[in-house]
Amino acid sequence: MNEELDSQLSAMFDNELPAAECELLARRLSRDPDIKARWGRYAVIGAVIRAERGIALEGIVAGRVSAALSSEPALSVDALQPAGRRLQYRWWQPIAGAGLAAGVAAVSILWLRSQALPDGSQAVAPALAARTAALAAPAAQALRNAIAPVPDSFVVPPVSQRSTMVVPATELADYVVAHSAFSWPVSRGNLLSALMVSEPGTSSTPARSDQPASGVQGNAIQNPK
């Protein structure tokens, strides 16, 4: 052997040789008894350095394994087939699983219909009807309120518990006027405020809404310093 090959062998023993070089050297290693013997001695050197006491260093296990495997058939591509076959068998497994699940579901539905529907439908129907009526009552009331004619009056109706989410027009007008009174003069004159304030009847208390507005406006003018 030349020195470069020996160096490669040493690096390969340490798993430090590039894979491409390993392929070539592995072929020689498996066939050349001298290289294999050197490889075995590298292992012995490592075992001695690690002080592996109680271990036979002359390769007893290797000799016995080699003898035991001499009667075994060599592995081949055929030996690798089982994994491939398993992969081939697997392709239909998801389909079979889905089919099985669908079958179980169909059987369950059919069984439930055949078992529960005849007797259960009579027992369940009245309760279902009562519950539907209870749920429909508030909705019907709301519908009647919506259809009823709007009174031609600006009297603020009493606030009901159900209409908390709807702000009456009068309250909205009061809020806009009051907000306008406390806002900056520039923003006070926006279109919405102007409309709400100027429109007669939008507030239930026009005098009360006008008074603070002018007062504040006056303060705002006097206030710059």
Binding site: A11, C22, R41, A47, E52, S66
Partner: protein, 202 residues
């Protein structure tokens, strides 16, 4: 560079029917495997038996090895399981163990084991190997000795050794190779003068 490239290249050869490549793997890992098994059994001869069994199991299972993990990790797992099973079976039938194995299982050839590792000749050879290697290491130049010890004793990679010794990775590779060559020259004399068992594997 893959950390397991050399083992994997040998494994692929075994999977394609090259038994000689498996010999190389056994030669490389036999000592480590026996040492590992000796954590479970104290008797070196029994540890060798278990290691042998683990290697044979590994060979038979190699078609299923896909290289997802490092080969030695996979091999160590097999060895540990084999050792645990051996301990359990021995504890269950401690009396039958020694009586039955020599008769029923060819791999547990007690006389063969005595001839190999427990005879005075075997022990003397092992001691001679050990003393030869230690003497060779002692006579190495400092940089070579440091490199080979960091590699074999501490298990550092070439890159880590290069960082520790403040030299290029190529220099580390060269130092380790030269250290091995120097030790191997003396060791070869022992093997060739002794049993030369490693050569018999080829």
């Amino acid at each position: 560079m893959s950390a397991d490239a050399s083992d994997l290249s040998l494994v692929r050869r075994v999977q394609r029917g090259d038994k000689g490549a498996f010999d190389a793997l056994v030669l490389k890992y036999q000592h480590k495997l026996v040492k590992l098994v000796m954590r479970y059994v104290r008797n070196p001869a029994e540890a060798e038996d278990i290691a042998q069994e683990a290697f044979i199991k590994a060979y038979r299972a190699l078609p299923q090895f896909r290289g997802d993990s490092a080969f030695y990790t996979w091999l160590y797992r097999i060895a540990i399981n084999t050792a645990k099973n051996a301990v359990v079976s021995r504890d269950r039938s401690p009396v039958e163990y020694d009586l039955d194995r020599s008769n029923t299982d060819e791999s547990y050839d007690m006389q063969g084991r005595m001839k190999d590792s427990e005879t005075p000749e075997g022990l003397v050879l092992t001691d001679e190997i050990r003393s030869t290697v230690n003497a060779a290491i002692d006579s190495l130049p400092e940089d070579l000795r440091t490199a080979i010890v960091l590699r074999e004793l501490e298990g550092l990679s070439y890159e880590e050794i290069a960082a520790a010794m403040a030299c290029p990775v190529g220099t580390v590779r060269s130092r380790i190779f030269r250290a091995r060559e120097a030790i191997d020259r003396r060791l070869r004399e022992v093997f060739e003068g002794g049993l030369g068992r490693a050569e018999e594997l080829g």
